[in-house]
Structure formats: C-alpha cells, structure tokens
Symmetry: C2
Subunit: 499 residues, 2 copies
Amino acid sequence: MHKLPRRIEDYGPLRAYAPATDPAPCRSKRLDDLDAAIAACELSDGATVSFHHHLRNGDAVLNMVLDRLAARGLKDLHVAATSIFPVHAPLIGHIRNGTVTRLSANFISGPVGEAISHGLVPHPVVLRTHGGRARALDMGELQIDVAFVAAPAADEMGNLSGRIGTTACGTLGYPLTDVEVARRVVAVTDTLVPFPTPSIDIPQGKVDHVVAVDRIGDPSGIASGTTTPATDPVSTGIGDRAAAVIAASGLLTDGFSFQTGAGGISLCTAAAVGRRMADEGITGSFCAGGITGFHVDMLNAGLFRGLMDVQCFDLEAVRSYQSDPRHQMMSAATYAAPHIGGAVVDRVDAVVLGAAEVDLTFNVNVTTKAGGIVIGGSGGHADTAAGARLTLVTTRLTAAGFAKIVPQVGTLTTPGATVDVVVTDHGIAVNPLRADLAERLHAAGLPICGIDALCDQATRLATRTAPPAASGRVVAVSEYRDGSVTDVIRQIADNRTGA
Amino acid sequence: MHKLPRRIEDYGPLRAYAPATDPAPCRSKRLDDLDAAIAACELSDGATVSFHHHLRNGDAVLNMVLDRLAARGLKDLHVAATSIFPVHAPLIGHIRNGTVTRLSANFISGPVGEAISHGLVPHPVVLRTHGGRARALDMGELQIDVAFVAAPAADEMGNLSGRIGTTACGTLGYPLTDVEVARRVVAVTDTLVPFPTPSIDIPQGKVDHVVAVDRIGDPSGIASGTTTPATDPVSTGIGDRAAAVIAASGLLTDGFSFQTGAGGISLCTAAAVGRRMADEGITGSFCAGGITGFHVDMLNAGLFRGLMDVQCFDLEAVRSYQSDPRHQMMSAATYAAPHIGGAVVDRVDAVVLGAAEVDLTFNVNVTTKAGGIVIGGSGGHADTAAGARLTLVTTRLTAAGFAKIVPQVGTLTTPGATVDVVVTDHGIAVNPLRADLAERLHAAGLPICGIDALCDQATRLATRTAPPAASGRVVAVSEYRDGSVTDVIRQIADNRTGA
C-alpha cells in the first residue's frame, strides 16, 4: 500500500485502509424463535407492534406473537393492525390481562369489535382508513417499534414472498408500507426457502429478523366472505342498475378504471359492467384495490390492461399474481394515502362500495351495526369514495329487518360529500352535490328518486328499530383519512349486546 | 354529522372532520421539461445531483440534464454518478465552466477519466465501490439533492420500468438505492405509458417528478464492451484453469453461487464452470451482479435457480428480465453494501474478476492504467472480492506491452487480503493467506507457483515500462467500501498523456 497523505485539501479527514480485523460477517437474519426475535428487537412496555391482514381470517401470526409478548411479561402494548378478524378473538384475553392496552386498526370484525363496544380497551381504539394509516405512518403520527410480517415464504436474509409457500396470500401491500417506517421488522414464515427467494415481494433490506414457525395461518381463511357475484335477483337487479349508472355517467370509455369490493352485489355490478364493456368493445385501464378471481377473469378477458392489487381476496387472485406480470402489487400508501395527491384511488373512475347504513346527507356507516357494535371500519371505503370520480354505494333498503337508509347514520365512516349515488333495490338517489350526474342519469332514462324517498321506503319495510345510540365513554374514534375525526363510538351498557 | 366531544381522554387533540375546501387533487407528476423539473426541485449552487449508469455508454440523460443545469446558471454542483462512460465527455466542458466542481463515481472510463488525471476537477474526485456508495448514502455521508433517473418507461404518476420502452435496459438496481434517500427524484423518460406502467420496477411513491424527452439514450450503447466468452486459446486456457481452481476449492457443489464480470475471460471461466456443472449434475443457487446473456443461458440450462441482477449488461439479459420471474432485480445496497452484513456479495461462493494490475501482495488495480490515468474504478470489484468465499483474479501476464503482475500496483483498488488466487496464462498463484486453498489445488494436481514468479515472468515478457508515478496534487481518492482510503490518484504533468 502506498503511503497516503495525512490530509487532502477539500476532501476531509482521511482514514487509511487497514485490513479489517473484524469484517462485518454475512449474518443470517434467522433467529431460533419468536422469543429470540422479540428479545433482539428490545421491545419494552408501551411499545407499538404492527400486523397486517393479508391472511385475513386465516391469520395465525398476530395471536402467536401476542402469546409470546404476554409470556415475556410485556405490558401496555399498542397493537397497530391493519385489520382484525374473528380469528383474532384471543386478543381479548391479552387486552384483559394488560398486555395490550391500545389498539388501532382500519377494520375490526368479530368478537374483538363487539368487546370494544362494551368497553374492553382502556384507551380509545383508533379506527383509520387504509390511506389514513399510511399517511399517519409517513407523517410519524403512528410510529411502529416492530412490524411483524406474516411471510408466506422467506429466505434467511429476509427476502419475502407472498407468492409461494403453503400459505401463499399473493401481494403484500400492507406490510410494504409498514416496513418502510418500522424501527424493526420481523418476518414470520412457515416456508423457509433457500436464498434467494424466487419471487421477492419485500426485499431483504427492509427486514431485520426472520423466524420460522410451523404455520403462519390457514390458507382457507384468506377468502373470507363471498368473493363471487351474487346470483339472487335482488342483487343482480342492483348490479344491473349500478352498471347502468356507470354507463350513463360517461366514464365507461376506453381507459376506464374501476374498483369494487369483494361482496356479492359489488361483483354483480362488476359482472354487468364487464358485459357492457365486452359488448361495446371498451378496454379499461386497470382494476384496483383488493382483487378477487372475478377481477382476474376480467383481466384475462381483455377488459382491463392490468390489476393494481393491494391484497388478494381469494386464492384465484393469488394464483394470478403468482404468474401474471399484469397483476401488480401496490403498497397501502400507493393505494390510498391522501396526502400524496396521486394515490391509485385518485385515479379510479368508478368505485362500487357497500354500506351498513346510508343517511339523508349520503353519509355512510361501515363501522357499526344498528345499536353501535363495531363490525368493521373504513378500510379503503372512505379513501376510494374520496378518490374516485364516481362513487356508487349499492345496498338493499333493509337487512336483518333493519332499515339501511336512515335519517342519520349510527357512525359516520365515509362523508356524504364523497358519495355520488346510492343504488338500491327500490331506486337510485343522486347526491344533490352532483346535479350533473343526475342530469346524465335522467337523460339515460334511469329512474331517480330522492334519498328521503328511499329512507321513507326503508323505514316502511323495516321490521325492527335500531336501539338508541350508546352514551357511555368514547371507546373508539373514527378517523378520516386526513386524521380529522368523523365520529366517535361510545360504550354500550353491559346489559346490552347490540342488535 | 354527530356532535363530537371537544376532547377525548387518552386520545389527544381532536380535529373534527370538515368537508375539505381544497382536497389534495390527483396531481400528475409530469412536468413540461427538464427546466420545469429543475425549478420544481429548487436546486441551488453547490447541490448534489445523482445519475445511474444502466444505459452505460448509451446514456443521454446525464449530458442532457447537465446542459440544462448549466443553462440555468447553476455553479459548483456535485455530480454523484454511479459510473461515467466515454459518452459523458461533455461533462468536461461543464467542469471547465464551473457548473460542476465536484465529482464522485464508482467507475470512470473514457475522456473524463483522462481529464481527471490531468487535473480537470478542482476538488478531489471520490471513487467509491458500488457497495461503498450505497453505504455512504445510507449513512448520510453522501447526500443527494436530486436523483435524475433515466427511466426506459414511466407513467405520469412516476411508476418506472426498465423492462419496456425503446431504451429498455432491464433492472434499475442503482437508482433503486438512490431514490430511497434523495431529497427529490426526477424520472426522465422517452416512453411515457398510460397509468399504470405495466411492469413497475420503481414505484410512484419514490418519484417526485416525471419529464418526457425525445430520447434517454441509445440502446446499442447498453452492451458496451464484450459480453460474450472469448474464443482465443489464451483466454480459454485461463478460463479452463480458473474453472479447475473453483472445482478444486470444494465449493462447486449443489447450491453453488457465482459471479463473474462481463469480460471475455470471465465468461470463458463461466462457460468452463458451466460445463463442469452440467457434467456432474450440479445445480447452483444463483448468479449475481451485472448479468449478461451468457448468465441467462446458464439459468435456462438449469445450472442455476435464479439470477440476482443489479444491472443488465446486454440486451439478452434485458429480454430475460422482461419475461422470466427467476431473473430478479436487486438494489445496489442489497447487492454490495458492506455495513449490513448480508449483502448478496456476501453470499457468493466464487467470483471471477479482472485486473489492470496485480502486485506481490495480491493487491489489485482496476482504477488506473500504467502511468496513472484513470480508466475505471472498483465498481463492484472490491465489494465482491471482500464478500465472496473464493475470489479469483484472471489475467494475462501482459497487455499492450506492459506487465500486469507488478511489484506494486499503480493504484490500490482492491486489497490483496480479499484476493485468494490469481490465474494467468503462465500459472496460478495462491495468496499465502489461503494455505488451505493452496493445499486443495495441489491435491487436485493444479500447477501452483509464487506470485513473485509470475511477476518476474511478466517483467520478462513486457516490452514497455510503466512511466514513473505521477506526483502532482491529489486529483482523486480511492475509497474502500467502508469509507477508508486505499489510495490516492495524483495529477499527471500536462506534458504527459499517460501510457
């Protein structure tokens, strides 16, 4: 080695190379078990741990991790999950024993939601939208100490894939956002593959530790709920009507972009829209959001050029993502974050959404059922409603005997200002803010009525009345995508179980 | 909307939702031209602008951007490029007129290198390794104000692809690291595609602005230099001998991982290794680094399970990356960063590297030619040498009349402590630090000699003597991957043009 000058002008301090006595070794990120990973992350009381819901009601990772956190005696944890499903009922025990005292999620269904309404969680639960959570992460409002990523496949260096493994779930859009900001990332897998993982969805640079477990979940739980079009005449009637609204709106032209939920009526609408596109030779640009086999069929039929998939809703979608490059992953932030002024939701022409309740100002509730029990939350509902050029809410007038078009929603999830039209089995109501749309539908010969008429009709058809609103302490806060509060959920008296 | 409480205990300040008077609009990221992008980035004198070299000697973006920066009167800029090629000769003018006064790169060939050696750049040029640059970025030693990304395809929201477009270059591993840390990212494309880009390599969340230009480069310049195995007997002889060394090392078993450069002798070695693998039924795990059509052929022949590709070296590799999911992109950081203790280079069993000079302590120079003119730099040379379990340097004893095995290298690029064996047309020398390897080669009947014997022989064969080392001011600093300095390059007197 040449003799080096002690200092070099305009370069700064010079440190001469010396053969490393202790070179950074190639360190496998694999640890023996969850306990080792928790210890390595130096978690302490009050920490925030995050989870994603790609395995939906088949997820085993949240319960497994919380069991270990509890066994290690950790207290006052904040569980920041993207969604909570019935399978996560054991979380209730961890809240009761003080392991977890804070909870935030974008969607909560099943026993945990019911328990929240009865005052389970000491601090108010924060319900966000998918985009609002991404925004809160990006802006540091929500800080994650450790993101636990259920990884269908991983190598020991932390290259993760959702496409292979016994519990393949497809895209990993939600953790893709968490791993950008979490202080530490622990991948939990049941399919450890040789380096390098053959179809990497999250690269090793974002992952700190890898833990192999027997199983991360039950693949059959990934497709929870229906993910096929409904076939009953009421649903297909609503779907046909909604498709007619989309056609009349003028948006159904080449390049059309579309999002629907996975529910039966939403997919009925998609089917009817698809038939119109095929008949008229229209090629859309993309379908976005959670993706089902039905969307895959539309792609393969040439009706769309691509799919932007934050989460696969069924195994047909998983298979498509495995093999079709037109079927692309997007992160939660790219999907729906409101502060970037260009999330994918902002590029959607028409979105078809469901509702638990819609009220006279077109506000939508997808958070609580009649009586105030938490049954869901926005997920991407408020995000897509705000982003899409045309937001349709499709619903029957009544369900389980309760009116679904009501004077005022039990919980305001999605503001009426972002909902353009409500399509029901008894008529179509256009938001007065969208006089242009009303004109187009009128010109197309579609029967339009006022939302008040639908509300009256729903009241007439209802056989049960919603219990009065709960009045206890605030047990949950429904945050809009920008972090403002649309509503609060209050504790239900213990002698009531809700509707 | 329900009346909300003014404050909620344990929640924090509450801001009630109000319909946004000015919702974040869906803003296209497309700007009219480079001037608009430069203005939007609020660049000022002294800023650092980064560029990548995926278009290699076909790149038009660096020159184009610097022309506009100069036209806008910016001064004292720092150009932080991953590599500089002959096509970037106009950079010399921008340095002469004071637009650019600092330069850093991992590899510099052509007129810019020659001019550096003659004192062109006022401040010392910093030559890093690919991994060292990624480390410097990660640790904030190198801060990028604006990363200009030559994007073969982009949509107006900033989803970038290297796989399509008239100047498709394949993977985008180098900018993938820059966009993680740059204050602003400007994508420059000649193929604007409808949203969403069909095969996204860099997602929109990492990109601030998109500018369409007539052409970002010349696809025929992507494959610069040879990317096919040499066929002359000297080269194939070295290749066969190197392959025999790899076989004798004991590493050539199932799961073998391999890296070679794109030079003729390196690919000869790869060909010979491939024949041995096929003969013996060995299936390797992956080839890494810059990828050529030859590596693709080995993948398709079933010799390896996958390719980890930071940069496609030719159009055959580009085509493979377009269509084969086993051919995966990795970022510069994942490829080679030294501080993470698990970059892909750390997982490579054997790497075959070239050399301008090798000396008696196995130090390698790939930075300057005889006489001290800058002709390259480490790129991934020092990274892979440090990472791989077996590092082979293959070289002829002489080139252009000069000895290549010398008493002391002109510039120390890659420390001898990381080089295990030198394979030449006149014999094999094993680093004394690797007595175990010498024993294995001996046992396999391979002819081993001392590096001093090779040096003597090279001296005898040489027909020209290297000019004395330059002694002017320090014009460039060769940084090792950990940021320490292996050597400095000094100014050559103006009446000398080097060898």
